[in-house]
């Protein structure tokens, strides 16, 4: 297992280097002079030159890249032009909010999606199964930003039950009230994915001989389903949980802008509007880094739960892609 983990960790290095390269190239090919774009059309030539000097844009692209990499190794993501603060400080202030929203949504979606999928599988082709699957497909097809707006319309505008903007800073209950709508809009979509996936994963297991044996032994149906079948259907579900956590992060980019949730998504979108490229670059790089780490954790936990995969990986020379 240690060998596998080390191998995956080593693979991370070139991936992260390519991530840096992609972001660096993208932010450097902005049409026109990035300093002039950041300062806007009214800026004087002197101001543009000064900012170019500050950002190191006068150096060759390789020197800029090398300087950026050196900074990254020290945890320096540059300085935000708009906030006049180190990018890493702004991110460390905002990221916990995105993480909180993602974890909350994940919890809600698991709470809805997994039981729905398990019951659907045990009652295959029943009314419950059809209705759940139709709802799940509608959930998957729904744009998260529209769902967010509709929840605001119903629960904030029409019913006045829940607040629609901000994070809520007046204690736990206030915080909970503020997180419900953005959390729910993200969770409904993920719950659809979980329900569909859990159902198909459970259906594969339920047909296995050992489940028939468990039933023949006279075990209670609840124990057969949850202890025997669900336990074995878990490894692929865990992979999906990891993938969904990554998509919750990207969904959060859109949800945060609707609910003015002060997280990474709102930060990146706002800094695009403010043309604060250092912040865009740093923010995107940070999210990509988190994304890569989550995928790594998913891969490792999948291997932990499924020794077959681990053996395959360790036995194949080409493996790992």
């Amino acid at each position: 297992m240690l060998k596998y983990t080390l191998k995956r960790l080593l693979q991370l290095i070139p991936t992260l280097l390519i991530v840096v390269l992609i972001i660096f190239v993208i932010t450097r090919v902005v049409p026109g002079n990035p300093a002039a774009v950041m300062l806007g059309p009214q800026a004087s030539v002197q101001d543009v030159e000064k900012l170019e000097e500050e950002l190191g844009l006068n150096n060759s692209i390789w020197t800029q890249m090398l300087d950026y990499l050196k900074g990254l190794l020290k945890g320096d993501l540059g300085k935000s032009y708009y906030y006049n603060e180190p990018v890493i400080d702004i991110i460390s202030e905002r990221f916990p909010n995105t993480l909180l929203l993602s974890v909350f949504s994940m919890f809600l979606s698991l709470l809805i999606g997994i039981p729905a999928g398990v019951i659907s599988a045990t009652k295959q082709y029943s009314k419950f199964d059809y209705i759940t699957m139709v709802l799940a497909l509608i959930g998957i097809s729904m744009p998260v930003f529209w769902l967010g707006l509709m929840l605001v319309l119903i629960f904030s505008v029409k019913l006045g039950w829940l607040p629609s903007v901000g994070i809520g800073e007046a204690g736990f209950i206030d915080g909970l009230k503020h997180i419900i709508l953005p959390g729910l809009s993200l969770a409904i979509i993920s719950a659809g994915v979980f329900a569909r996936f859990t159902r198909s994963s459970m259906l594969d297991i339920i047909k296995e001989d050992y489940i028939k044996t468990a039933r023949a032994k006279g075990l209670r149906e609840k124990i057969v389903i949850w202890k025997h079948a669900f336990k074995n259907a878990l490894p692929p579900i865990i992979t999906i949980i990891g993938i969904q956590f990554s998509s919750l992060l990207s969904g959060a980019i859109l949800t945060e802008t609707i609910f003015s949730w002060p997280g990474m998504g709102k930060l990146i979108v706002d800094s695009i509007e403010k043309r604060d490229y250092s912040l865009v670059q740093g923010g995107v790089l940070f999210v990509a880094f988190v994304y890569v780490v989550i995928n790594l954790i998913v891969d490792i936990s999948y291997a932990l739960l499924n020794p077959k995969v681990r053996a395959e990986f360790e036995g194949t020379k080409e493996g790992g892609k």
Partner: protein, 305 residues
């Protein structure tokens, strides 16, 4: 005389084999269509897609008003008022006509971005899987790098660089789609390449071009068709998301995303703007998802029913 007979005999044999192959393909296609038509949800999906395509092509005939005609006296009318089926937007423009015209953007972006991503992804996947070695490592590491970004974030960053507009939306979503196709195709190529008939062809000295076009490509088609159909739905949502953030299609050109963006600002006074534009996205995406699921089931040899 004998030589001529042999030649004719060979020609007949080749012709028979060719006919047999065509018949086999037709049989396969017929069974695929039969399976697809038997699937009720896939048929519902097909109907939704057909309606969307018809509304995109015949927008001028299906719309009731000029979608860009501003009439501030009729701003934010409710559905059904003054002959406006879905009401009007903040500039008094007919919402139904704008949504009908908006289907054009969704279909164009959905199809073009998916095609672009598929073509480039297929090329990269085939090169990577077929060549192997250092070429494979370089391409796959680059694909891993692109995979490290949340899809929408990659598209957002590209839109910031490219600037707004239809062409750039297609480009950004198309490029962001490349890694998924490259990975699927590479995996399939590796499977096909290892099979005995393919190894035999390589040993017999068949050209790479022939092996790829005649043998590998037909075998990787099924997963690509399935992924592509579902991917159109994703591309439609992505376009709407980019336009919703103000980075995609710019007003006054109607797109479901930018209509939704203005609907957000008028959510309290005119909730119908956001409701109808979002419903248009939801129904269309649902159509492609239903159809995509049906295509997957029909192409899956494990599923007999």
């Amino acid at each position: 005389m004998r030589m001529e007979d042999m030649k004719r005999h060979d020609e007949i044999d080749e012709e028979t084999l060719l006919n047999l192959e065509i018949m086999k393909k037709e049989e396969k296609a017929n069974s695929f269509i039969k399976k697809l038509l038997r699937n009720k949800t896939a048929v519902v999906g097909m109907i939704i897609i057909t309606i969307t395509i018809i509304s995109a092509i015949f927008s001028p005939f299906l719309s009731t008003h000029d979608p860009n005609k501003v009439n501030t006296e009729e701003a934010c009318l409710k559905p059904g008022e003054n002959g406006h089926i879905f009401g009007t937007d903040e500039y008094g423009r007919d919402l139904y006509s704008r949504i009908v015209y908006g289907s054009r953007i969704s279909i164009i972006v959905g199809v073009c971005a998916t095609t672009l991503g598929a073509i480039l992804g297929i090329i990269l996947g085939i090169i990577s899987g077929y060549k192997g070695g250092i070429t494979d490592t370089i391409i796959m590491r680059f694909v891993d790098g692109m995979f490290a970004f949340p899809f929408i974030l990659l598209a957002i960053v590209m839109m910031t660089v490219f600037g707004s507009g239809l062409q750039n939306v297609v480009l950004a979503i198309g490029i962001a789609n490349i890694p998924s196709y490259a990975r699927i195709v590479r995996g399939q190529v590796l499977i096909v390449k290892k099979q005995e008939y393919c190894q035999a062809l390589i040993a017999l000295g068949a050209s790479n071009k022939k092996i790829i076009i005649d043998h590998i490509f037909p075998n990787i088609l099924s997963p690509i068709i399935v992924y592509g159909t579902l991917n159109i739905a994703g591309a439609i949502i992505s376009e709407a998301a980019l336009s919703f953030l103000g980075l995609g299609i710019q007003p006054p050109t109607p797109s479901w995303g930018n209509i939704l963006k203005s609907g957000k600002d008028y959510l309290i006074t005119a909730p119908h703007i956001a409701t109808f534009s979002g419903l248009a996205i939801l129904v269309t995406v649902l159509g492609f998802n239903l159809f995509g699921d049906g295509v997957r089931d029909a192409l899956d040899p494990k599923l007999k029913q």
